[in-house]
């Protein structure tokens, strides 16, 4: 029997597989036994009510999804009254993803999350910071540090910080988050992208640009996971294009302690369960006793990244 348990900061998860924020909700419980998940991660919530972006909000590309859903939100009270009781029925730890337009607002929202049934906070700092003319917090180490410090001081809950891939300094941002008190990093959110329908001359999304996800982005985010895992000593949770156990293994070998599955669940609702079962089968086949042993298993000891050459 392979031991699938992994430790993310002070939390021990039954297995390393969980949903990515925004690709998981109560409707999936019809098909997937939530008790089998390593953790449950909510869609990002905000303090304020939000409607989200104009339609079309998604476009289908080759092996990728482009979305501009935004963060439609019914606010905190709705979440606490309606969503939280639903998730409390399951034994998997619940991670609540939060977002806010400023570091102070982030801290205020985080402070309201110390509620029974909430195991950790995932701060989605890939969202626009109004104090930096709308640039995402996670685009540079300074605004990352400011936001994460304030959130850290506002809550005793384990704090996961979700990074954006839309930065040239992901390792420095990762270190900033660690130094400011993050317990784990989630790498990463969607990649800023755009697509045009050349028949109609129109952008495919109602808000022109959006976030790319799905298998097509995997090599980019595997690279970022590797860079971040090398840069910090807190756990890294890999997220981007994972749809099979093999994908999850690759992320773990690159340095991830756990993984999140997003877009794949839209195509195959049981994707997370298949990844869990496949991970056990892989470890079994390779004679690896614990899934946790996969973390950082990539054989790169004799190799070095030439920073000058590796940047194309």
């Amino acid at each position: 029997m392979v031991d699938l348990r992994v430790t993310v900061g002070s939390l021990t998860l039954d297995n390393p597989v969980m949903p990515a924020s925004g690709t998981f909700a109560d409707g999936l419980a019809q098909i997937v036994p939530f008790d089998r998940l390593g953790a449950m991660v909510t869609k990002t919530i905000t303090a304020e009510l939000r409607g989200g972006n104009p339609t079309p909000r998604v476009a289908e590309l080759d092996q990728a999804m482009l979305n501009s859903i935004g963060i439609p939100s019914n606010g905190v009270a709705y979440f606490v009254q309606k969503s939280l009781p639903f998730y409390r029925r399951f034994k998997s730890p619940l991670v609540v993803s939060i977002s806010a337009p400023s570091a102070d607002a982030f801290a205020e929202l985080a402070a309201r999350m110390e509620l029974p049934g909430i195991a950790a906070i995932e701060a989605n700092i890939s969202c626009p910071n109004i104090e930096e003319s709308g640039k995402a917090f996670a685009m540079n180490p300074r605004s990352t540090d400011a936001a994460v410090q304030k959130i850290r001081n506002a809550t005793r809950l384990p704090l996961w910080v979700k990074l954006t891939p839309n930065t040239s300094e992901v390792a420095a941002v990762a270190r900033a988050a660690e130094n400011a008190g993050a317990d784990a990093l989630v790498v990463a959110n969607t990649i800023l992208a755009m697509s045009i329908d050349i028949e109609t001359f129109k952008p495919r999304l109602g808000s022109i640009m959006g976030g790319l996800s799905g298998p097509a982005i995997k090599p980019i985010v595997v690279r970022m996971t590797y860079q971040c895992a090398k840069a910090v000593s807190i756990p890294v949770i890999g997220c981007g294009g994972i749809s099979t156990a093999e994908d999850a293994v690759e992320y773990m070998m690159a340095g991830a302690t756990a993984v999140q599955v997003g877009t794949a669940t839209f195509l195959r609702p049981s994707a997370m369960i298949d990844v869990i079962d496949g991970l056990a089968a892989f470890c079994d086949r390779k004679g690896i006793a614990r899934a946790a042993d996969l973390t950082g298993l990539v054989r790169d000891a004799e190799m070095a990244v030439d920073d000058l050459e590796a940047v194309p």
Binding site: G22, T23, F24, A25, D26, G27, L28, A29, Q30, I31, K43, L49, R50, G51, G52, N53, P54, T55, P56, R57, V58, E60, L61, D62, Q63, A64, M65, N67, I69, P72, N74, Y78, K82, F86, G214, T265, F266, L267, R268, P269, S270
Partner: protein, 281 residues
């Protein structure tokens, strides 16, 4: 920014829903005309328990250049728990449906469903009118059968480009429905003409409720007449979908609710909605 989400929508909760992702096997798959195919699947429960107006999210195979990424939503055209079958009637349009069209008898595919909230019939209605354009009739056919089974009379108005695009009249006829066909080719499908037809049916006292699918113009017409004549109704709507089960919020549309405009998910709060609350798309 779009309208705020509707937080008061009275639809079944997640715990009350029973969809599943099952493997289905093709037992028949034939062209109905130059554009439409009829797909019959053997599928385990809960698939054959689908109700009129509900839909499935179908995994479409890749074929040649076509590599559909998402699944495709399709209304249930027929569901037979006795035989353990579900049927679909679909128009071949783009990558997904072209891929779907390559499925052969004996092939298997994943189908997620039954999904969404279907049509409702009120016991007090003696007669209803269903008005469908194009493949909208696929969505309305099981409703006509449900009505017949409940002793509710049906007038079915088919709107289509030409006679070749008129489908499944036999199925409606079998339920005892009265059938009216209006076409673009002879001009009879013009909104004014359909309006005259609906008013005549109303004068005959045959308009207990209105149901429509497949055309914005016809939806607006039924909505206007419904308001004027005090006739309730429902409309089945379409919107692009990724997850089909309420998670991604890509399938939202705006609705009038009291004095507010709210946004609802077509896959979760619908695809069938109150006619008076729908908005032009």
């Amino acid at each position: 920014m779009e309208a705020l989400l509707d937080t008061r929508s009275h639809v079944p909760s997640a715990s009350q829903r029973t969809a599943d992702d099952v493997t289905a096997r093709v037992v028949a798959h034939q062209w109905v005309n130059a554009e439409y195919k009829h797909l019959v699947l053997d599928a385990p429960e809960p698939a054959p328990l689908a109700q009129a107006g509900q839909f499935f999210h179908l995994e479409c195979p890749q074929a040649g250049e076509d590599r559909p990424f998402f699944r495709r939503p399709m209304s249930v055209y027929k569901a037979d728990p006795g035989k353990g079958q579900v049927e679909f009637l679909y128009k071949v349009t783009g990558a997904g449906t072209r891929g779907l069209a390559t499925l052969r008898v004996g092939d298997t595919m994943r189908i997620l469903g039954p999904l969404g909230v279907g049509f409702t019939l009120d016991e007090s209605w003696k007669n209803i009118v269903v008005l469908g354009r194009g493949v909208g009739l696929a969505t309305l056919a099981p409703l006509a059968e449900m009505a017949a089974a409940n002793g509710v009379g049906v007038t079915a108005i088919f709107s289509a480009r030409g006679p070749e695009q008129v489908m499944s009249t036999e199925r409606f006829a079998k339920t005892g429905a009265r059938i009216e066909i209006v076409l673009d080719s002879d001009g009879s499908s013009a909104v004014e003409n359909v309006e005259r037809l609906l008013r005549r049916i109303a004068r005959e006292g045959k308009t207990g409720a209105f149901f429509t699918c497949g055309s914005d113009r016809l939806m607006l017409l039924m909505q206007r007449l419904g308001r004027e004549l005090g006739i309730r109704g429902e409309v089945a709507l379409e919107q692009q979908m990724a997850c089909g089960i309420g998670m991604c919020f890509c399938c939202v549309r705006n609705f009038r609710s009291g004095n507010e405009v709210v946004s609802r998910r077509v896959c979760w709060d619908g695809p069938v909605f109150r006619l008076d609350e729908a908005m032009s798309w």
